[in-house]
């Protein structure tokens, strides 16, 4: 499609973001709800239990759910305010279509569906099946994730399906598959409780997974030492025993040096290494020159601190290593993950009580959503789309000929590149806002403008959807039954609290209707979400992510079941690897060399400062939901450029002075927040905002060669003070920036 039909300002006027606040004394009916629904938060991978209060088919408030074992009522500010996404003035209440010069107007479902299907057919007939692409997301339930994978391969018959998990934890997934042959956090979080040492690498837990803090603090109450690896003094790092303020892009050097230290001081579990692992020698060889002095030079961390961390880790009897996007959003994200896993394997502390390892999945269903086949290279049960046996099994479940099943497609950012090159002409997106969340947003916008047809399924008109021809009004998380899988691997039940308002429909019914109109009704007929789940169970059977033994009833009765769970009498697997039987071809855990390499972009005379990006506690990802909730916006109204006073002094920067930050891809202007809590050579901008306030105007599209994750966490930038103090944050209106 071409440019926006009318100005972005006009679209915002009609469709938001507008801020939703609760009335002064709460919504009517909060005191006497029709229903109290035990479900889960729609945001991050913690999937905290929460009870929604429902009155007259509207969510009017919440009540903590004290019994749910992970969070026992605890919530973060996003969780407390999540109920305000329901009952929202910006909510799309029916399908709308683009009208040039006017913006978007209501249309009928029939017309919207007809147009969508005819355009899919037209594009595919003219340019080939794969010229139509699909971008999905992992805030969707397992059922919908599975359905999107099947829809793309069976109904649309395109190979180019990928998802926003590509920006999330794919590096961890790839690393875990290499090392363990399976992609899941190896333990549930109650194993943190008696861990002696906890490493938190590139995970701003207190802002991105606040409720996980409880388990870490609990361990510390029992005397655990905590090591935080982060270029910034994040809230967790303030009280940490060791804070390794790593220079962005040098993580693998740190892990390599720590591994060498463990080896040199013989803090290894030889029995475990000898009997249950492979690849140790070649990995050891790759770090043989990684002395503490070298590591200090590369990472900028004092060698005494690295030594202290290595000593603590080496001597511990129990431990837990957690990492997240901070080490994964790199052109060597997989290497960073492998570097962490090497530290875990070297000490043999896995598969035992209070000995754990895991990535902290970011999105609500980041775990479950990445297992059931809406990834470009994957089929349900975390099967491989290029493995003939896997293809055959799934083709049988779906009732299609294996030969008709498309092969491996392009990853999310590669799809954007292919659109840019003119190879892909059509796009269907659901639960994904690439214009805000992908790097190099100018480039992404240009790609969107080249599409011949773009249809979006969403409940709000997000920034990307403004470029769409048709928007199908879909459903919120609380408007459909389903399941998700939390970051611990716990499969849990999402409840339908209300039905979609107005003429909006459930996502599932929209997909099923499209499939029907594409002529595949016989393969897309389900009478409930549970029916889809039951098919998913069969499809996942025998795969590494085996859900076969999990039923809705069992989840409800047990407040969640941990996969793998192959049979209905299997209790589920809260802790992996107790049997030391890894899922790799040789049945062993693999050490992998992860030698230090430079990031995709390094600082030079033109761009002399390191830029890194991240999140704030009150916003969630691209902000489609959270930039519409008043109090969450008020808590952090606009992105600020965090800069160390020493660096600020070099540029003569004042507190709250506007700074133009430019990279080779674009520029943006942000108020400075001068703080000692960041490295002197690095600046930080949070990324939840759109338009001119988007940090992703600056970030590079450099991808990890294995996981294809973009390098959000490090690039080179140039700073230019604007000699003007920013107006108060509250007046910035950054939530609706164009």
């Amino acid at each position: 499609m071409a440019k926006l039909p009318v100005s972005a300002e006009k679209i915002i006027e009609d469709f938001g973001p507008h801020l939703n606040y609760s009335p002064k004394e709460g919504f009517d009916g909060r005191d006497e709800p029709d229903d109290v629904v035990k479900t889960h938060c729609c945001f991050c991978g913690m999937q905290c239990g929460i009870q929604l209060l429902v009155k007259s088919n509207k969510v009017v408030g919440f009540e903590p759910w004290m019994e749910f074992p992970f969070n026992e009522g605890r919530l973060c500010p996003k969780g407390v305010q999540r109920y305000l996404q329901n009952n929202h003035p910006d909510r799309l209440l029916g399908p709308i279509k683009r009208v040039e010069g006017k913006g978007f107007e209501s249309t009928s479902w029939d017309e919207a569906m007809d147009k969508t299907v005819s355009e899919i057919k037209r594009i595919q007939e003219k340019y080939g099946k794969d010229a139509f692409s699909i971008l999905s997301g992992v805030s969707l339930t397992n059922e919908k994730s599975y359905l999107m994978g099947k829809f793309a391969r069976v109904a649309v018959k395109t190979k180019n399906l990928d998802y926003n998990g590509r920006l999330c934890m794919v590096s961890a997934g790839a690393g875990n598959k290499k090392a363990f042959g399976l992609d899941r956090a190896s333990n549930n979080y109650s194993d943190l409780e008696y861990a002696e040492v906890i490493i938190v690498a590139g995970a701003n837990i207190s802002e991105t997974f606040p409720t996980l803090t409880h388990w870490i603090w609990k361990a510390r109450d029992r005397g655990a030492k905590i090591i935080v690896i982060d270029p910034r003094m994040i809230p967790l790092a303030r009280t940490a025993d060791v804070h390794l303020d790593v220079k962005p892009g040098t993580d693998s050097a740190l892990y390599g040096a720590m591994l060498k230290y463990l080896v040199d001081h013989d803090m290894l579990d030889h029995d475990f290494i000898d009997n249950y692992t492979s690849g140790f020698d070649v990995t050891l060889d790759s770090v043989k020159d990684y002395t503490l002095e070298w590591a200090e030079e590369i990472t900028g961390i004092k060698k005494e601190k690295i030594k202290e961390a290595a000593e603590l880790w080496g001597k511990a009897k129990t431990s837990f290593l957690l990492h997240a996007r901070g080490i994964e959003h790199h052109s060597k994200g997989v290497d960073n993950v492998l570097g962490c896993i090497n530290l875990v394997l070297a000490t043999g502390r896995i598969g035992k009580p209070y000995c754990g390892y895991g990535t902290i999945t970011g999105q609500g269903n980041g775990q479950g959503g990445r297992e059931h086949g809406h990834k470009c290279d994957q089929l349900p049960g975390n099967r491989d789309i290029e493995n003939p046996e896997h293809r055959k099994y799934i083709a049988d479940v779906w009732g299609i000929d294996e030969k008709d099943m498309p092969g491996k497609g392009l990853s999310a950012y590669e799809i954007i590149e292919a659109i840019h090159r003119g190879e892909i002409k059509g796009l269907l997106s659901i639960c994904f806002n690439p214009l805000v969340s992908l790097p190099n947003s100018n480039y992404v916008r240009e790609a969107l403008e080249k599409l011949e047809f773009y249809v979006c399924i969403d409940f709000f008109l997000n920034e990307t959807a403004r470029h769409a021809d048709i928007i199908l009004a879909g459903s919120l998380q609380e408007e459909e039954e389903g399941t998700t899988t939390s970051a611990e691997g716990r499969v849990i039940r999402i409840r339908q609290a209300v039905t979609p308002p107005g003429d909006a429909r459930t996502d599932t019914s929209i997909i099923l209707e499209l499939a029907k109109r594409l002529g595949e009704e016989d393969k897309f007929t389900y009478d409930s979400s549970e029916a889809i789940f039951n098919e998913l169970r069969v499809a996942s059977k025998g795969g590494t992510a085996d859900y076969n033994g999990i039923t809705y009833k069992r989840i409800e009765d047990n407040m969640g079941i941990f996969w793998p769970c192959p049979t209905e009498d299997h209790p589920g697997t809260p802790r992996l690897w107790e049997d030391k039987k890894f899922k790799t071809p040789d049945g062993k855990a693999h050490f992998n060399p992860a030698p230090y390499k430079l990031p995709g972009e390094v600082i030079d005379a033109d761009y002399p400062v390191i830029l890194t990006t991240g999140r704030v506690v009150s916003q969630y990802l691209s902000g489609t939901q959270t930039r519409r909730i008043g109090k969450l916006v008020d808590q952090f109204p606009e992105p600020l450029l965090e800069i160390h006073p020493t660096l600020a002094k070099q540029y003569g920067i004042q507190q709250r002075e506007l700074i133009k930050v430019s990279t080779r891809r674009g520029e943006g202007i942000f108020p400075a927040n001068i703080v000692e809590t960041i490295r002197e050579d690095t600046v930080f901008i949070p990324y939840h905002w759109s338009g001119k306030k988007s940090a992703n105007l600056l970030t590079p599209g450099t991808l990890d060669p294995i996981s294809k994750i973009p390098e959000f966490k490090v690039c080179a930038c140039h700073l230019e003070p604007m000699k003007e103090i920013a107006p108060p944050s509250k007046e910035s209106k950054a939530y609706a920036s164009v």
């Binding site: 510390r220 029992r222 005397g223 009280t239």
Partner: protein
């Protein structure tokens, strides 16, 4: 000890003023010539209420924090400073006392309901008290059978025809007040019976009884009207007694219960002037945040008041904890806590 002297003082003031008001009744009713004997119980109720209010007000004024505001107010009055705030005070009186503007942001309906009660009560007071005191009375104009004359304090103030709109409005004024009060009170009663926050914190005598009394007074008052207008005086005497009982309960309740706020509320304007005057003299800057947070005068006054009340927030170095803004105090406490935790060797556990 303190309390006892306060009480004596307050009793004295109240007694003197009550006697003075009785004298005014005599003067205003021209030696009881215009006094309506039927209202004698109301008269006693009102005088008693007046005594109670003055007593309570005097006790209240003598509390150190109130006294300092009172003292400042008198000083402004004597030094003439108050006149520089004349417009401000007038504006505030209209906005805050007449229209209770500050309630509006708390809730639109809350304001509407309160305003209805306030208008109803005020107009009722303005009519009934002078009537009771014999300060107003109505007579037929000499040589006329359709012209009424209204007298205030024995002086004729106006006349109107018996069947005029003015007559209708005047004679039914209390009915209009009653409707307003009933509607407003019902809103509040409903709110108090359904809002969980209020249910948790309210008391019967402090919050519900006043509303019930208001409704009872208004309803019985209306019933009196309808009894003689439409029902040929059905149950009139009974209603009259009930009405008198509720009114007298209400009057006696004023000094001790919720209705005292009617008397107390003008102090709000005093507080505003105090703040304005303080700002002229300069703002206090928080030692921790470096930001202005209150007027210097207010901080200094409070240092004295707290001392007088037995709290000593002064520090060894001559400074005071009150030199910190609320945020500054919280931060200093957290810093002290961190220091203690670090000294204890463990931030957790």
């Amino acid at each position: 000890m303190k309390n006892r002297t306060f009480n004596t003082k307050a009793s004295l003031i109240a007694t003197v003023l009550s006697i003075f008001s009785v004298i005014l009744v005599f003067l205003g009713s021209r030696n009881l010539q215009n006094f309506d004997a039927a209202l004698i119980t109301y008269l006693f109720g009102t005088i008693f209420a007046f005594f109670g209010i003055v007593y309570r007000y005097s006790v209240w004024l003598q509390r150190p924090p109130t006294w300092i505001y009172f003292k400042r107010g008198i000083t402004y009055l004597v030094t003439g400073k108050v006149f520089s705030h004349f417009w401000f005070a007038s504006k505030e009186t209209i906005e805050n006392i007449a229209f209770q503007k500050f309630i509006y942001p708390r809730g639109k309906y809350r304001w509407v309901a309160h305003f209805m009660i306030a208008i109803g009560c005020t107009s009722a007071f303005l009519i009934t008290i002078p009537l009771t005191f014999g300060w107003i009375h109505f007579t037929m104009a000499p040589n006329s059978i359709s012209l009424y004359e209204a007298h205030f304090f024995g002086f004729k103030v106006m006349e109107f025809k018996l069947d005029s709109i003015m007559a209708f409005l005047t004679f039914h004024a209390l009915n209009w007040s009653s409707y307003l009060v009933i509607l407003g009170s019902l809103y509040y009663l409903r709110r108090r019976l359904t809002n969980p926050g209020l249910i948790a914190t309210q008391t019967f005598e402090g919050d519900l009884l006043p509303l019930i009394l208001l409704i009872a007074i208004s309803a019985t008052g209306l019933a009196l009207t309808y009894s003689y207008q439409f029902m040929k005086g059905f149950a009139y005497d009974f209603l009259a007694v009930i009405h008198a009982v509720t009114v007298i309960m209400f009057l006696i309740w004023i000094p001790f219960g919720k209705f005292f706020h009617i008397i107390q509320r003008p102090a709000q304007i005093g507080a505003h002037i105090y703040k304005k005057e303080g700002m002229k003299q300069g703002m206090a800057v928080c030692k921790h945040t470096g930001e202005e947070y209150a007027t210097n005068m207010h901080i200094n006054d409070l240092k004295e008041v707290t001392k007088e009340l037995g709290f000593d927030f002064s520090m060894e170095d001559g400074g005071s904890h009150l030199d910190l803004s609320p945020e500054g105090k919280r931060s200093r406490l957290a810093q002290a806590h961190l220091k203690a935790r670090v000294a204890g060797g463990n931030l957790f556990g």
